[in-house]
Symmetry: none
Subunit: 157 residues, 2 copies
Amino acid sequence: MALRKTFLFMDTIINKVDAKGRVSLPSDYRAIVKELSTEIVCYRSLTSPCIEGCLEDLLDKLATDMENSLDFFSQTQDDLTNLIFGDAKRFAFDSTGRIVLTEKLLKHAQITDTAVFVGKGRKFQIWNPENWEKEEARIRAEVLKKRPSLAPKENVQ
Amino acid sequence: MALRKTFLFMDTIINKVDAKGRVSLPSDYRAIVKELSTEIVCYRSLTSPCIEGCLEDLLDKLATDMENSLDFFSQTQDDLTNLIFGDAKRFAFDSTGRIVLTEKLLKHAQITDTAVFVGKGRKFQIWNPENWEKEEARIRAEVLKKRPSLAPKENVQ
DNA sequence: TTGCATACCATATTTTCCCATGTTATATAA
DNA sequence: TTATATAACATGGGAAAATATGGTATGCAA
C-alpha cells in the first residue's frame, strides 16, 4: 500500500473482549498504525471513564509542546502530563491483530466483555458500550446547544 | 489526464444501491478523488437526513486546526473530535468504482435501493431521491425568499 | 511446578475482489 | 448528419481474501 498522507482514526467499532483482556484492534486502525509503527500507546482518560489510544508520535508532540509553550508551565498542565506519561503504556498487536488490555485500563473504562472503539482523529478512545451511548447523546446535545459555528458543517464546508 | 486546477464536486447523479450497500461513485467524482487519493470519507450530516462525503484532507485540516486553536485538554475539542471522527469512515472504491455504504449511513439517509449524489463543492451529499426532491424545492424557495434581487423572475424579465 | 503471559492454530463471518453483462456515451467513417 | 464501431460506465453475482474471535499450546518466571 502506498504511504498515506493522513493518519486519522475514525468510525465507531464494537469488538468483543475475552477473559484474557484480548480485543481486536479494528483493522482500519491497524492499517494506520502499521504504516508508522508496530504498536500503540494507551492510557486512562483524564476526563472520562474510557481508555485513550494514540501513536507514540502524538505523545512526543505533547512533550515538545510542554517544553516550548509558556502556557504549559501552569501547575495544572504539569500535573496532567505527569498523569498521562505515568499512566501510558505501549501495546503491540499480535499476528491476528489483537492487543491485550490491562486490568487497570479495563477497570477504569468499566469494560468487561465488549468494547467500543471511537475514532478521534489523531487519537481514539475505547468505551464500555452503555457508557459510550450516553456520552454520545450528551455530546450531540451539548454541541447543538453551544454554537452552530463549532458544528462540523460550518468548519468543513 | 492533465492535472486539474480545481477540485469541485458538482452535478446531481442517481445510482442504484444493491443489497450489499454497494453503489457506484459517479465517474466525475472518481476522477477528482483519483488525482488526490484513493478513497473518500463519509459521515452522517449533522443537520440533514443525508450522507456527506469529502476527501480526507478536509478532515485532516480540521484535526490540525483544532489541535492548534484549542488546547490539548479542552472539553470542547474533546466533544467535537468525538462527534466528527467517531462518525466519519473511510471508503475506498474498487476497480469498478463502487463503494460499500454502511447500514448506519444508509439508515440515517433513509436510502434503500437508490441514491442521489449531489455536488457541493469540496463536499458532496448522498440523498434518498424523494427526500432530495423535497429538499431541493425547499432550498429554492428559501433562496428566492431571502434574496429577491437574485430571483430568476426579476433578472430574466 | 504453578501461574501468567504470549504465541499459535482453527473457524465462522464479513468484506473485498474479480468476472460477466447490459447500457450509455463517445468517436469514427460513410 | 447518420450509422456503426469503440470505449466507458453501471450493476449483478460469485469467488477469494481478510477479519474477528474462540480455543490450545508454549515459554518464562515466581
